[in-house]
Symmetry: C3
């Protein structure tokens, strides 16, 4: 009956995939990426893009320091080799080699001896979570610092310390990766994840891993939309991409920022600034009909790169998909966001939800009922049970809903919302009705 | 004060009617119609229309078998004389003469001896309700069958049975009745009930009885709208009427499908596909201000003939009025939907609610406040209590609401919704204000 | 940073004011006005306007009896010198000199001896509140009467009484006061309170006191809008003003009727007939973000002078602000609405809320984000904390919301509603952003 191969869902077309292998692939990517010290520029980003590029081919961009991008300027490139605070016996009491979180990102180089009293203003802790090391940055600011557990700070004796940050801030470039998977249409779905955080597993190695594996899979199938994947530093990266692609963004029909998809929290979706763009409705529909706990957040101008894509000069239909929203879980931006905090099952669930959202985008369209005057006789086409008097099946109901509202203007997703029926079910009904000559894509 | 006799409500103009007699008349109609074996065609429908025609005059239509009506074709006419399954002693163990539900509607003729094993696939029961005989049909399908209580099936011994369905499927016609009660306007209110079910009292002898008596009463009074009553077979009947009246349906300004109005369940109204047509608002208002339990259902493409009237090629403003919605009560489409399941009180309550809805339609219109700058001085017209300082009466409030929103564009029903006041009260206030020279129909 | 002095809130510009003194000033005004016998015309109104005029200068209007004002006519002027009912020993059992509530307002003069039986129909009591004297009026009606406590009525022995109302109903005028405080724009904010009630403290000496002191304060500062304050008799007064200013009302951009602001009930706002006028949104926002209990009432055509300003011929954006709505508190329109029923703290709270609403009106406007492509770099302008990784402060969030939605069309109040942030905070953020060159008033 189905004449259009693409009427089969992405999920079905990719279903040969072993689910366990899918989770393993994403989790192992997180493991490979975890030790690298990333920031908004530098070799850590490049090594990360190398690893991701082995999964999904990508074009590498290097934008020189000093380049103006809208209101911003690409900063000097930051690279770090070592950093520590050592006591008078030469023992490292704070050591970058144990965790890259111990150094404030973008710290200026320093090599001095100083008393604990002098050092103290440069030390960041979390008194409320005394075992955890916080994550802090000093972008666009000529300062330096260390992060450590509050317990460890309390245990430091007075005395002189050797303080070393062997880092460089120098002309270089900002790096990002870009993958384009061509579809039948030049209209694009933009999928992005930020690549600028050091050893934090959920934020955002989970997003990078999901995006890379998703890209790898999408490249295997025929697609309606062209998919553009960005692996970019947060804020300055998306602003840079927007500045370099200002003439191009009109092609972006839908977009999702993927972040924090590896924890056990419920799936969440943050609406685009438009609030009811098709991507917003698709994501809300998929989460709403999933039967699982989930959260829908209205747009607010804080968070990840949706801030930039949705800025009023662009106002792109880009939402954000994740699990626990940033800053709402205690592990957020601390050393507790480690590889034990994320899991392959959570990653697979998030992958499936993302794929279901893309399936809606791939298949949503208005249809026209070709027999709109009265109901068509489904029975003589073998689409209706012949013994009457009993309640209609879900399959019949999906056909009746599709016929009742397919006036050439109403997209299938809107019918799914009206019917409170899973989009996939209506999409299958539409395919059957197209096959039966009762419906035509508008 | 009132200059327009039609400003008096239908309910008041018909109030000479004895309420007990009204309930008796509807219930007795159900009793007369109950024994007849109806289906979507055949002599049972004609006998039913004969009886209804004695109450309300109607034009009889006969549409020949084979006539194309949109996607459908009028089927051969089905008539049945007798049907039974008899055991080897000749005793009828299933007998059409006991209840016409025992034969699957539109069964092909059969006259054979067969084992219980051979017969079994042709026997329909309700294992969950073992005492009840289900109602089943086999329209547009060359098959036959019997329905019986599950208990009775269990009691049948193995052995040979004589199986007889003395029915004919032959060229003939589909019959329906149509009553037109002319009003001052050529715009129409369409009221329909289905005439195709055999011995089922609530579904839909109750609807036929209410519609016939309502038509009889409406013919006694001056009316704003022209009322068109259809007594038609479900699905194929409404499709046939639509196909034969395609050029005419533009005159249908409001419509109600009446079904299942005789049980003790709460009144219910299912919105038209438009969702907020005037008929939808009128019905919701009447049920909402009734003080009684009631249910409002959104449109969904399953149910009775509203499916056809609301199909996207017509999208008429036709809702459905009843008590317990079909398939939501256990007696639905079983032998338990008998004359004991319906009652005259329930019928009268439903009749009153339907009349109240029609009263809104008859009287809803925008008015213009002729003294719109500041409130007019109601006191010097005898419309306001002269001793001030106390709260306004309901009568005064109805006048104030009417004056405050009668800008020439806002229909009285919308003001009733804003005020959360009964439409009849606002209508009386409007009549008083017209009498006082403060208001004019727009 | 701030270049526009008026970007500072009214509340801040008036903050030199001693709050205790503010409460004292309003309460003392109530005390001065309490003993005066006011009605819709007469010397009581003039004495009241004299006292209010000492606080805020006003133009006095006298509109002659017999003048036509829309559907109404200015009535004869009513003045009263004395009134009583005396028993056969000459003892005053009902005495106007004890409370002016004892006489029905606008009573015709009378001087007769009569039995209690004859007198009884002229006596008004509250059987449910037997200690309280009700407030009653007899406008536009040639009658007379007395009000008294039900207990007192019950104690009256049968017998003959001397009944005296030494009042006059004669050609004169209706008096009202009008204050105009010029702002930079000719567009107006209309603020009104009714001046026609006798010794009732909350209804509406509280409103008169608040309005007078508010006018006195507004006159001290530079204002965006022109403020027009009306001290007018209820109903006939606002109708008279509307009739005399019909060509002028187009200048009224916002308006508030102030009444009943001295009791301890929660603040309340009744929407204008438009429902979502800027004044409605401003008042709902201020009460909604106050953190205090409050009530929002939809428009209904009963209450105070908002009835007239919102009549369909004008439909002005005028809401009503108060505390407990009229007729919802047992003291309403009785002798229990006395000086003990109102308090200076309640008056100050109401004053502050009213000022906050005016502050929204004074400062609400759309802005344009001058750096709309991506977020501007707040950090290099000193507007963003330099150590990243932590949650944004309220101040930063207010800037981000303002930037995200300032597209030149969206007023700041709408952004406050979206953000669910206090308008004053967004207004301060907007001023900072204007100072930083990132935002411009549209």
């Amino acid at each position: 009956v189905r004449t259009d191969p693409t009427s089969v869902s992405l999920a079905a077309r990719l279903s040969g995939l072993d689910v366990i292998a899918l989770g393993d692939r994403m989790y192992e990517l997180c493991e490979s990426l975890f030790p690298i010290c990333r920031s908004i520029t530098g070799d850590g980003v490049r090594r990360t893009l190398d690893i991701l590029g082995d999964v999904v081919p990508m074009e590498r961009h290097e934008v020189p320091s000093g380049t103006a991008v809208f209101d911003w300027t690409i900063p000097p490139e930051w690279n770090i080799r070592d950093a520590y605070v050592a006591d008078d016996r030469g023992e490292r009491v704070i050591d970058f080699r144990r965790s890259n979180l111990h150094v404030v990102g973008y710290s200026a180089p320093v090599r001095r001896r100083m008393s604990l009293h002098e050092l103290r203003p440069h030390l960041h802790t979390l008194p409320d979570r005394p075992h955890a090391v916080p994550y802090r940055t000093a972008y666009y600011d000529d300062s330096w610092g260390f992060c450590l557990a509050h317990d460890a700070l309390e245990a430091l004796p007075d005395g002189e310390y050797e303080v070393v940050i062997d880092a460089s801030l120098a002309d270089g470039s900002l790096s990002y990766g870009e993958t384009v998977i061509a579809g039948r249409s030049a209209e694009e779905v933009l999928l992005t994840a930020h690549v600028c955080h050091p050893s934090l597993a959920n934020d955002n190695l989970s997003g990078l891993a999901l995006l890379a594996v998703l890209g790898q899979e999408l490249a295997r199938v025929d697609l309606r939309y062209t998919y553009r994947l960005l692996f970019i530093p947060g804020t300055i990266g998306s602003i840079t991409w927007l500045a370099r692609n200002e003439a191009h963004v009109g092609a972006v029909r839908h977009g999702i920022v993927v972040s924090g998809v590896g924890d056990v929290g419920a799936a969440s979706y943050k609406r685009s600034r438009r609030g009811d763009a098709e991507i917003d409705r698709a994501a809300c529909h998929v989460l709403g009909t999933s039967g699982d706990d989930h959260r829908i957040l209205d747009f607010h101008p804080y968070g990840y790169d949706e801030r930039q894509f949705c800025s009023p000069g662009f106002n792109l239909p880009v939402g954000r998909f994740g699990r626990s929203p940033h800053s709402e879980y205690p592990e957020y931006h601390t050393s507790a966001d480690d590889l034990a905090f994320v899991g392959d099952e959570a990653l697979v669930e998030a992958y499936d939800a993302a794929l279901a959202v893309l399936d809606v985008l791939e298949h949503d369209r208005p249809y026209r009922n070709l027999s709109p005057c009265g109901e068509p006789q489904l029975g003589r086409r073998g689409l209706y049970p012949t013994t009457g008097g009993q309640a209609a099946s879900d399959t019949v109901m999906a056909m009746l809903w599709t016929l009742a509202y397919s006036d050439g203007d109403t997209p299938l997703l809107e019918i799914a919302e009206l019917a409170d029926l899973d989009f996939a079910r209506l999409d299958a009904a539409a395919a059957d009705l197209v096959g039966g000559g009762l419906l035509a894509p508008q």
